[in-house]
Amino acid sequence: MEINVLFFGVLAEVTKTGFKHYSGIKSFRDLMLRIQDEFPEIVHYNYRIALNNEIINEDPELKNSDEIAYMPPFAGG
């Protein structure tokens, strides 16, 4: 599967990119491992993950072209 991944806030700075495209993803777990391999420093940060604009609390089923976002604590207002 092709998955687009967005990094926001401090995580955009840590990963030095706001956006990554991943190909050949087999599952959500597989994607998480690929991201952790590439950006090991993100484990030191607090974040939530959204799938297509919805925050997820457990591992979802992914579909081709899904959008995943890594979101540090919000700071609006």
Binding site: N46, P73, F74, A75, G76
Partner: protein, 152 residues
């Protein structure tokens, strides 16, 4: 859609919320004769000083598509909780906003004053909790720091 609804379809606006935009929204209220009160919250960038350095500006970034979706959810929640509320306006800055400039504008209109005031406060709380927006404080010595809202 009301005139104010059309003027505020986009929640995120580049840079500060200008006083011109705010005054044109207040001006447009005269078309809305169903409301008896409008409660407004204006958030501005505070020049916090930690003893060594002073906040010069905040750089806001946002997950645009999710901001849109979450703002819709917030409005739906408010309309459900407060049956007298007629209209909710949310404008939030994206990009650089200097100390003293406005970064958030919320206006809630209702038939009678109490619900407008309560729902406005609740809307601001929900914005802080739910909108995927991030802020980086930029100090006068060119250092910066990421901030987060406390409710997380």
């Amino acid at each position: 859609m009301s005139m104010i609804g059309k003027m505020t379809e986009n929640i995120l606006i580049p840079g500060p919320v200008s006083k011109v935009v705010i005054s044109s929204l207040i001006e447009a209220l005269s078309n809305d004769t169903g409301a008896g009160g409008h409660s407004v919250f204006i958030g501005q960038v505070r020049a916090d000083n930690d003893g060594e350095r002073r906040v010069q500006a905040i750089l806001y970034s946002a997950y645009e598509s999710m901001v849109k979706a979450e703002a819709e959810k917030i409005k739906k929640m408010i309309f459900e909780e407060y049956n007298d509320v007629k209209q909710i306006v949310i404008l939030h800055s994206e990009g650089l906003v200097k100390a003293g400039e406005i970064s958030l504008f919320v206006m809630v209109s209702s038939g009678h004053r109490h619900q407008a005031m309560q729902a406005c406060a609740r809307t601001v709380d929900l914005i802080k909790e739910m909108l995927p927006v991030w802020k980086k404080e930029i100090f006068d010595d060119n250092t910066h720091e990421w901030r987060e809202n406390k409710q997380y």
